[in-house]
């Protein structure tokens, strides 16, 4: 695992505080989408299919910060859309860092070099660029439906690392992914010098153009087992080892849909980052009026049946680590031994 100790400490103490307060449901990561606009149109993405006047809109920094305060999660992930297209991304990140939030700026990195050269960001332990990389060059360019994007992303990563920024990668795996090619990809990312990698199976967005290449549960277990059963020590993953073990079929976790709540132009998205079943006007309303029992693998909800995505299951893994001896022991063992 490559999560810095200070970040682990922040998350661990936050979880314990929530437990002491006897809060049954609490967020871990706020998914803050300041805009839906993107400079790519990836086949697996269901986030950007909106009329032009909606794509032109974005949240104000003040609205973003109010959502961050209201939610209270110790980590803020900024996906989108492409957040580097958000005109106030520099100010937003600066404000979040000032509030000691751990920020993951999720980007395709096409604009990263340009924005770094413009001096928009300052290196900080609280800021990590989480670069979208769906595999080696051919696989990535195919996933994002444009050739040359992998090379641009690598250039952006190199520039960010050269300037002293934390850089991680985020990878979505679809049906047909090769375990061997992914292992080569892990080597390549480590050679580049990224701090750690994040992996997740894709989710079958009903609005995404490509509906045929999403992994189902058994296939997910098989692929991740093959890929990670004998991991090299040099591979660093910026995520819970228990979540990776869950993807390998070693844990039977249930979804925590409120773990990564999503705020965007439309409000607080019900019930999670992936499903759009409505919007609440406030975080309180989201938490108190969403029918949580209708979601998750065991609920029988067809939309949740095959989902194993990080935004629902990583919070479960993190909570398990910090609230059970068994979870803590398994996490420590995986971290120390470098085995999953």
């Amino acid at each position: 695992m490559s999560v810095p100790v200070s970040q682990m400490w922040t998350v661990g103490t936050y979880v314990l505080k929530q437990r002491l307060k006897r809060r049954r449901r609490y967020p871990l990561v706020l998914m803050l989408e300041p805009l839906f606009r993107c400079n790519l149109a990836c086949a697996g993405c269901g986030k950007i299919q909106y009329p032009a006047h909606v794509l032109r809109k974005h949240l104000s920094v003040e609205k973003c910060l109010a959502a961050v305060e209201e939610c209270g999660a110790p980590m803020v992930s900024i996906p989108g859309g492409e957040p580097l297209m958000y005109p106030e991304i520099g100010r937003l990140v600066k404000e979040l860092v000032a509030r000691r939030k751990y920020v993951y700026l999720c980007t395709n990195a096409i604009l990263l070099k340009e924005k770094l050269e413009a001096g928009l960001f300052t290196p900080s332990k609280y800021l990590s660029f989480s670069v979208h990389m769906d595999g080696l060059e051919p696989e990535h360019d195919e996933a994002v439906c444009r050739e040359g994007v992998f090379a641009e992303a690598v250039e952006g990563i190199r520039e960010a690392l050269r300037r002293g920024f934390r850089v991680t990668t985020n990878t979505t795996l679809f049906d047909g992914a090769s375990a061997m090619r992914m292992q080569m990809f892990f080597d390549e990312m480590m050679d580049l010098g990224v701090e750690g990698m994040m992996l997740s199976p894709g989710y079958s967005y009903s609005k995404a153009p490509d509906q045929e290449h999403f992994l189902r549960r058994q296939k997910t277990n098989e692929l991740f087992s093959k890929m990670l059963s004998n991991p090299k020590r040099r591979w660093k993953f910026n995520q819970s080892p228990l979540f990776l073990q869950f993807l390998m079929g070693k844990w039977d976790f249930e979804c925590t849909p409120w773990g990564n709540p999503t705020y965007n132009l439309f409000g607080w998205q019900r019930p999670c980052y992936l499903l759009q079943e409505g919007y609440a006007a406030s975080f309180k309303e989201l938490m108190e009026t969403t029918r949580w029992e209708q979601y998750g693998h065991k609920s029988g909800n067809e939309k949740c049946k095959d989902c194993m995505v990080h935004c629902g299951y990583e919070p479960t893994a993190v909570n398990y680590t910090f609230t059970s001896w068994k979870g803590l022991k398994a996490t420590v063992a995986a971290t120390v031994a470098g085995k999953l």
């Binding site: 149109a41 269901g46 909106y50 006047h53 909606v54 439906c145 132009l265 439309f266 409000g267 919007y279």
Partner: protein, 115 residues
């Protein structure tokens, strides 16, 4: 993608609706990734993107971003006479297949290396 999902509602005009039919049309409009035209009972028409609805309140409502800009507006169900699916469905089509086709076509057009 299922056949039902493939069928776009673009251009659909269900006419004047109320009760369960209105609820059904609102659900379809909420799921639709294009602009709609909401016709109010007073005859006024509002064009924009319908992004939310809530029936779990005393007075059910929809929320929209109007096409000509501004903050979101709220319209009670009780004041809606009809909803027409007038904007382009941005989720329709098969861009992944189209991209694969164009990629294959580009490869055919490229001269073989080393020739």
């Amino acid at each position: 993608m299922t056949g039902e999902q493939e069928r776009s509602l673009e251009g659909w005009d269900p006419g004047v609706v109320d009760g369960p039919d209105l609820a059904y049309v609102v659900e379809r409009a909420f799921d639709y990734r294009g602009d709609v035209t909401v016709v109010r009972r007073d005859g006024a028409e509002i064009v924009g993107y319908l992004f939310n609805r809530n029936v779990d309140v005393a007075e059910p409502f929809v929320e929209m971003f109007e096409r000509n800009g501004g903050e979101p507006i709220t319209i009670p169900y009780a004041s809606i006479s009809s909803i027409r699916f007038t904007g382009r469905d941005t989720a329709a089509g098969n861009s992944y297949a189209a991209w694969l086709r164009s990629r294959e076509a580009a490869k055919v057009m490229q001269p073989a290396s080393g020739v």
